[in-house]
Symmetry: C2
Subunit: 255 residues, 2 copies
DNA sequence: CCGCAAAACTAACCTACGGCAATCTCATTC
DNA sequence: GAATGAGATTGCCGTAGGTTAGTTTTGCGG
């Protein structure tokens, strides 16, 4: 069953690289077939990028946004003294820099942490789509506000949780976000990060992340080894982290 | 000169409580007279709230958003052990919880730190306005993305700056944000916060904030006393904080 | 002008995490 | 299968900031 939009665009209706984005959005609101086709049609076929490549430089003028199709991306900021802070991790299905649609440039860089596939979307195509489907505009606005909610959760972690709870909280967050897009099962998920990457997310040093990982392992809560997170005691982990998924807005509602 | 929208609504064209919001938005993009009238017309006359009142509870269903007309608001989260973390401060002219337009509830509470005046805006009125003026929709989307950029700056502070630089950075941020809405002169600004409030922003204790304020005073960079921030050496302060206003997106551009 | 509470300030001590350096593990390449 | 290098791991010690427990100052209602 093809919609009008789908017939005009040879990619629409197909474009499987938008699948995880749709899973993510449909967790929060209904999207009808016409909207789906419109959304799929504006996302260009994904391009591959190697790990550890800065794909968007801080300040660079932007006329398109990046839909992460596969891999892990980080929003990061480098300090004078060589330290780095990551302000958000992005998983498949995330629009990593939809913020640039209104900001026109970013206040931070975006970096691949693993090999990635990215489908670009032109800002002009977004404007056209929003004129026809204001509801999709609100949904993507929602998704940037969801990023802001994640930022706030990280702020709370960095400000008020100790290193153990902070790491536990991050692992809980990723568990939920990856489950939504079908990349985690209830016992854990693949996570191709180094301990140093985790340190850059958590405002710690890699040495201390190592100590904390050992503690979490010894307390039989989680194991992170060989690029895989195995959650041994989910309830215990959430409790330690004071984690609640409320800030991820998983309920389906008209937005 | 009255526009069509202004003639329909007795408050439009007047509604001076939207002045600072307009100053803030016009710093980033042009707004024509018709848009201005539409925006003014949907903001209800401000209501007064005393200091230290939670005006929005975490999770509460929301059908309107708060434009801060006067005073200081905080987005906050309380921890099990009684600690509090503030994830953003809002000054006059800020839409404090425009995020709830798409989120429908908040992942945090909103609290008055000083006596405040707030003009409420119904979400239905926003939808109607956006249908007629998509450009205003993008501008307000921009303003939620600006909040996200501020969140990221705080994340970097909390993760990678020591207490002195962290406090200095916050004081720099407020200087710029208050200047935009005409509430700071180049030498400083009124700031009716306690040292404990600052501690809750910075992930510190009030005791340590006190020590750090003394250090900043002794280094002749800033003084915070009697609810007023006096900047003695702006360049030195920015340098210490590694502060750049880039993340506040002060340039005027079509959004 | 007094009495009171909240906030500011100080000092002595304590601890979570950083800094540094050495060693270990493991995957990759020739 | 030896050589290499990135990342993981551990131990020791230093320090930024927390904790506790005060004292002092400020603002304010009566």
């Amino acid at each position: 069953m093809m919609t009008a939009a789908a017939e005009r665009d040879p990619f629409a209706g197909a474009a499987p690289w938008a699948d995880r984005l749709l899973m993510k959005l449909r967790q929060r609101d209904d999207i009808d077939a016409e909207e789906e086709a419109a959304l799929r049609s504006i996302i260009e076929p994904p391009q591959a990028y190697p790990a550890r490549r800065v794909i968007i430089e801080e300040g660079e003028p932007l006329e398109r946004s990046a839909l992460l199709v596969e891999g892990l991306l980080a929003r990061f900021k480098d300090m004078r003294d060589g330290q780095q802070q990551i302000s958000e991790l992005h998983v498949a299905g995330d629009f990593a820099d939809l913020h640039s649609f209104t900001l026109k440039r970013l206040d931070h860089g975006i970096l691949t942490l693993t090999p990635c596939r990215i489908g670009w979307v032109g800002h002009d195509a977004l404007i056209a789509m929003f004129e026809r489907f204001p509801h999709l505009g609100r949904l993507l606005w929602f998704s940037t506000n969801l990023d802001a909610a994640i930022h706030r959760a990280w702020t709370v972690s960095l400000g008020r949780r100790d290193a153990v709870a902070r790491l536990a909280h991050l692992l809980c967050e990723l568990q939920v976000r990856l489950e939504i897009v079908g990349l985690a099962d209830p016992t854990g998920y693949p996570l191709a990060l180094t301990q140093n990457d985790l340190a850059n997310c958590l405002g710690l040093t890699s040495v201390h992340v190592n100590r904390v990982l050992r503690e979490l392992r010894e307390r039989e809560l989680v194991t992170f080894r060989g690029g895989h997170v195995t959650i041994a005691d989910r309830a215990g982990l959430c409790d330690l982290a004071e984690f609640s998924a409320d800030y991820l807005f998983l309920e389906k509602r008209p937005r």
